[in-house]
């Protein structure tokens, strides 16, 4: 239940800040009669995302990424959008405010008009019902892994969490554009960086599915190419290509290029250019996920062309086959994710998260391998276990006079009972000693052994050592000072 509440806490600010408010601001007082809501959605998202990324770079460079400045700038951006979208100078005209108020009252009173809009929406959605259900089911299917596991399956997830945490702490500038895009969402959600990054992945996946649908519709005016495109996309991105899809940068990149393509199709140069520029800022290289999306779209268009050009019986058979294909896709088993690894035990991530939630901010320190840093950044302190063991040898810990030099209430030391298996047997020459400890089995075993030795020595001569968490793989010791 809690994870779904947290998911909503990420989803609602993301939709409101990146899509809803910019779209409403552009549409509310717009005098452009031809502006379509779906176009405005894409334009609003791309422009606001571009603005937030630049704002993040700018404020991050001065170490001033602070909630007050960010939300004031965002408010100015929205008001600016409203002012630029309207051409009659209503902002300075008192009468237009009065008329606006009167119009609002009238629209509330005229229920029939609202019903008409609702009817039109429902009528439109009937054509897209199957597609909508398909996308929703795909989204739930995809979201299963990030909703049920705290650890990240790729190194990019940890790196992005650290970038986001660094930006929110105002401790250094960051070059990660997706972190600057997620930062306002993190501020509005009140959640930690790791949770925001993890839960934003399925939302961004939903975004790329929507972008595929928009792109299909922009060039065909039919829902069927989209159905034909999303099924192969989903198969490739949530199956063997899962690692590619779980990188927010890649997802955003592909989404933005698709939006740029929509803009080009609709002859909106601004949208196309903004989308491409933002995509370049996010990842200058071509992500694999975009190629999958492109191939899926090609399959969609070719399939739709064949359907349309063939005899009616083939068309009906194709639709029936699509339904069956969609249903069979959804009936396929959930993607199998290993219970642990590749960078940390799931229980280690959960223990670090539990510490951060349970204990008062910045009153504790976690001493562990580096991957737990992502779960404590912005909430507490962290020290890497190899450095800790180098600084405080076991012989010193056995001395009664020895005191750990942390002015904190609690120290948590993570010790792996069964060192996390690693593929590499030897460290890569030229790399730091950390690669030996983290990426090789002998290094990991040696680190765990030394940590256990330290704890044994310390607890034999000091009071206040308790076990905070223990399972078959990991034990977390708590030293209360």
């Amino acid at each position: 239940m809690q994870i779904w509440i947290e998911f909503l806490r990420v989803a609602i600010p993301m939709v409101v800040l990146l899509v809803l408010l910019p779209t409403l601001a552009a549409r509310m007082f717009s005098t452009a009669a031809t502006s379509r809501f779906s176009d405005l959605l894409a334009v609003g998202f791309v422009r606001t995302a571009l603005f937030l990324v630049f704002l993040g770079f700018l404020l991050g460079a001065w170490k001033l990424y602070l909630p007050g400045i960010v939300f004031t700038a965002y408010a100015v951006w929205i008001v600016g959008t409203v002012v630029l979208a309207s051409r009659n100078g209503w902002l300075y005209d008192l009468d237009s405010w009065t008329f606006g108020y009167a119009r609002l009252l009238r629209s509330v009173e005229q229920r029939s008009r609202m019903r008409h809009v609702l009817d039109r929406t429902l009528e439109l959605s009937q054509d897209y019902l199957f597609l909508t259900l398909l996308i929703f089911a795909m989204f739930l299917h995809f979201a299963w892994n990030p909703l049920s596991n705290l650890r990240f399956p790729t190194a990019a997830g940890y790196a992005q969490t650290l970038s986001l945490g660094t930006l929110l702490n105002g401790s250094a500038s960051v070059r990660d554009a997706s972190a600057t895009l997620l930062a306002p969402i993190a501020l509005a959600s009140g959640l930690d960086a790791a949770t925001v990054v993890r839960l934003s992945v399925p939302l961004l996946y939903l975004l790329i599915l929507s972008a595929i649908v928009c792109c299909s519709y922009a060039y065909s005016r039919s829902p069927w190419p989209a159905v034909l495109a999303v099924i192969p996309f989903w198969h490739y991105s949530s199956g063997p290509g899962i690692e590619a899809a779980t990188t927010p940068d890649a997802t955003l990149w592909a989404t933005l290029v698709l939006i740029a393509a929509v803009g080009a199709g609709r002859r909106s140069v601004g949208t196309a250019c903004s989308g491409l520029l933002l995509a370049w800022l996010l990842a200058p290289t071509l992500p694999e996920l975009f190629l999958i999306a492109l191939a899926s779209l090609a399959i969609g268009f070719v399939g739709f062309g064949l359907m349309r050009s063939g005899p009616p019986i083939l068309r009906k058979a194709s639709v029936a086959a699509l339904f069956l294909l969609g249903l069979s896709s959804l009936a396929s088993p959930l993607p199998s994710v290993p219970p642990n690894g590749p960078f940390q035990y799931e229980s280690a991530a959960r223990a670090a998260d539990r510490i951060a939630r349970k204990f008062q901010r910045n009153r504790w320190i976690v001493v562990s391998p580096m991957h737990e840093t992502a779960f404590v950044t912005g909430r507490g302190w962290h020290k890497e276990l190899p450095q800790f063991l180098d600084e405080f040898p076991t012989t010193a810990a056995a001395d009664k006079a020895f005191r750990l030099p942390f002015e904190l209430a609690d120290i948590f030391i993570f010790v792996e009972k069964r060192p996390l298996p690693q593929i590499a047997k030897l460290a890569v020459p030229g790399n730091s000693s950390n690669s030996f400890y983290y990426a090789t089995s002998p290094g990991r075993t040696s680190m765990a052994y030394r940590a256990a030795e330290f704890i044994a020595a310390y607890s034999s001569s000091h009071n206040g050592v308790t076990i905070f968490h223990e399972d078959d793989d990991l034990v977390v010791y708590q030293i209360h000072q």
Partner: protein, 502 residues
Amino acid sequence: MLRNSPNCLTAPSPTGTLRPALDAYDLAVRLEMEGVTDEVARTEFGLPSTFALARKQLCNVTGGDYAATKPAEKSRLAQLFNGVTFAIPVLICTITSLLYRISLWGGDLSADLATAVAIGTISSFLVTGGIIQASARRTLFQLQCEQWDEARATCYHWTLLGIKTLVGTLGLGWAFNQYFRWLPTPIDWIALAFHLFLGLLWLACGILYALEMGWAVGAAVLAGIGVVASLHLGGGWPLLGAQLFGVAATAAIAFAVAAIVMRRNRKKQGRGEHFSLRVAHKIAPYFLYGSCYYLFLFSDRILAWTSHATSSSLPLQFRGDYETALDIAMIAFIGQAGWVHMSVLAFYRHMNAAQSGFNVREAAAFNAELQRFYLRRAAWFLPVAVALGLATYSIAVHYGLLPTEAMRKVAAVAVASYPLLVFGLWNTSLFFALSRPAGALGSILASLMVNLIVGYTCSRVGQYENAVYGFAAGSAVFAILTTVGYLRLSRTVDYSHFASAA
């Protein structure tokens, strides 16, 4: 028998239809209807005003003592005291804290607990500030009309609204903290408890201030401190628990005193003024002003306490040195604020006197006279205020009360800013006296924005104590905007005076 007596003074009336006057007010109205202005009363009857003539005539008829019916005018010292009564709780708490290490709130607490108390204190002011301002506006109007029943009922309704708002914001605050997890348990509950109990205390004090019973506020606060002392020192209670109980006791005493005074003066069971759309429309500017004013007063503290707090255990860290420096500067502010109350009373007196000195075709001269009065007062105030500020700062430095550079900077800037704030308050009081709250509201809103923007920027780019520059900039803007606004208004003060009485 008076010379050239008007008809209404020669009762019974020749036609036998004119009933005897009900009271002095009724008779004064009848006299004015017959053209007996203050000037006529002065030149032809040798009395200072029409109202004095009415009182004298009634005494002649009823055999009463004219001198006894004369409204008592308070001495300047009493006026000054009335002007500074708002600071009584803070002053008493500061003194008892310095002398006996015991106070109604604050004191010898850990940083986290002090933060909780500070949050509760500030939020209680922010929530109740607008309600107290709006309630006082209506209650004072009814008390001046001697409508005690209505005033009592109005106080009751507004206090009830205040309590509901306090409870509502309590729930909102709890939900907000559950969402953002800024304060851990039990810090959150302590902050919420102080928010509720201090809010009740401010509501009760608001009623007593409206009744001009500042001494009762002082007595209630002293009794509350007595409760804290007996529970903490005698009963061994934890300080925070004793303080919460003490604040609740103080609020209860203040409410009880207010209720007794209101009940003693009541004449009949009145229903008072219900909260309606009409009342809300009339009172909204005063309510908004009250809320914005308290936000203005505390915004620099909030900015200073939230600045550079990423490595602290709480996102809002109470900084005692900043608070101490501001508290010391506030001593000068209290003295200056007393001047505002005196000046507003003097303005009323001068306006009434000037009004009877000019005829209807001399409106421009009347306005010019009031403008001269305003400028004279301003010319007196500014040097005295600056001298008071300098004296406060020098004494504090001399006795080592400002040991760090940051504290001296905060105190110096605050001491320099308070005269500007007080001058703005004086202008605001004149806006309110002339029932023109829009000018005050616009000024405080603009000043608040300046305060927040400048304070935020300075405290984030530099050190946290730079938040005080926001307060200084906001105070300067407040003084300038209200002065310009009043000088504009003073060109047509005759109309505003007439309209405010309507």
